[in-house]
Symmetry: C2
Subunit: 314 residues, 2 copies
């Protein structure tokens, strides 16, 4: 029997479906990873943060960690790599809710929805300034699965899309592709600067003051990747000095965002509490990916979905 | 000389461009339509509401009214029709800002942006319920230029679109097309019921209690057409009794919306003060259509853009 421990919490109906589909697998649904060292766990399904180096030391039978999240930056990747443990994630499942969130914020700002909401509270019937998205330009940092979906949708609205990646390769959803070192030269053209980059050694603190100085005064900066893309004080400075028009942040240098952060009260900043990937369909989709990979695992096939290269971090 | 009176207010640079492009036309830019009867006006460019039956009586030379608006329901259409006066509007220019506004509201509700905005004010870092647009179904009343653009964009998000028109003909942007008398049967399938219908004898009070009873409890009703599609009290009743989840209204039975309307304070209603068509590019686009038609007028060609059939009202 293959022993699978799920600390990823799922509902009864999902548990039963797993047991029905895989009668030869021993599923252990647990609230906690404590005691896992005595369970001869071969496969661990987790949100990620419970797998510390110490826990990993005890799991001598572990061969595969399925992370039910997109970010693996909090995982003991080095230890997993050394032990040759397979690591997979569910990165693909975020693309729909995240792209919808990003488009929601862009359109909402353009069409003045926050102002409409405020006016309604005061029963004010008044026209306001309102822009069109059509014809604008977006620079998308990280044109992978999520960024590509953002690009595809923006293109439907008539937006010119520029993808920025380490390779500079051609990406779906982009009219143009540039390299990381071409960001500064490209920023003066961008009405939207949207990051969906993961946290890696190359993306950490990738943006600094000089980048915000190059942005349009009318630009909107959106960080939906990881909070260590840019120092909070750099964004605060740019917003306070109106170097850019607005920032929409779903991720932060420190999460939850501390209550003394100036970002909360800046009228040109939208603070979203890391919710852009949320979806009522999340668990269902994560389990679909897990089940596909588990089929392959049991039959000895290769070609797993969403394999993480532990040395690269994504 | 052809005498053109513009009560449609435009900036100096637009005035000069018109005069340069049409040196043989006599342009009169006026704040008011008063005194127009002494000007031998052949062509009138107006937002519409200043052309009353009485004013029309005095304009004996009038041959063409260009309405710089989409709605012509406040125009003296019968009188214009009797006199054989050409009536054109600018309906096409609204499709981009209006479709963007409609998508903005849909995405904003799905991705919980109003809650994010409220939480930020109170510095609350908390996850909330959030849905996906993908896979839902939209019923679009009025699948013309604007409705078709809404349908095209919704389809990009993976939404199933159903167009509803008097003809029931196949329309762009729709997966399916139905007739007005099929609305009730179709409502139980719709997650979004979106009207962009003009005000005509056929659309006036088209929806009533029975329609709202057929809608899903989770449905969102959106009126971006005209306020006489449904009685305000019908919508208020449906919202107060949670027959539907939310209403987004850009048009109202009475505009401006009276301050004692219950719609202002309903938490499941968004009151938008008839701003969905606003755009910084409005005047420019309206003049483009006017200039194309004026070229034809002067050269004696036919095939004018956006001709209104005065007996039909659109």
């Amino acid at each position: 029997m293959t022993n699978v421990l799920l600390t990823f919490p799922i509902k009864e109906r999902f548990r039963n479906a797993l047991k029905d589909q895989f009668p030869k697998v021993n599923f252990d649904f647990s609230d906690t990873i404590e005691g896992a060292d005595e369970k001869e766990v071969e496969i661990l399904v987790t949100y990620g943060s419970d797998l510390t180096e110490k826990v990993l030391d005890g799991l001598t039978e572990l061969k595969w960690v399925m992370v039910a999240s997109a970010g693996v930056d909090q995982m003991p990747l080095a230890g997993l790599g050394e032990r040759g443990i397979l690591v997979t994630n569910v990165s693909g499942i975020h693309k729909t809710p995240m792209a919808e969130s990003i488009l929601a914020h862009i359109l909402s700002l353009n069409r003045a929805l926050p102002i409409i909401q405020e006016q309604q509270k005061q029963k004010i019937w008044e026209k306001m300034k309102s822009n069109e998205l059509k014809g604008s330009t977006a620079l998308i940092l990280g044109p992978g699965s999520i960024g590509g979906e953002v690009g595809r949708l923006l293109q439907a609205f008539g937006v010119n899309t520029i993808g920025c990646s380490r390779s500079g390769n051609r990406h779906d959803g982009m009219h143009e592709d540039i390299l990381f070192n071409e960001i500064e030269n490209t920023l003066p053209r961008a009405d939207y600067v949207i990051s969906v980059l993961p946290s890696t050694s190359e993306t950490r603190w990738l943006l600094d003051e000089s980048h915000f100085e190059k942005m349009k005064k009318t630009a909107v900066f959106m960080n939906f990747g990881r909070g260590d893309l840019v120092r909070e004080r750099v964004v605060v400075h740019a917003l306070q000095n109106e170097q850019i028009a607005h920032a929409v942040l779903d991720v932060f240098e420190q999460e939850p965002l501390p209550s003394d952060s100036p970002l909360w009260e800046l009228s040109n900043c939208t603070v979203s509490p890391h919710v852009s990937a949320l979806s009522a369909k999340y668990v269902e989709r994560a389990l679909e990916i897990f089940k596909e990979n588990l089929e392959m695992w049991l039959s000895g096939d290769e070609g797993y979905k969403n394999v993480i290269e532990t040395d690269r971090g994504y």
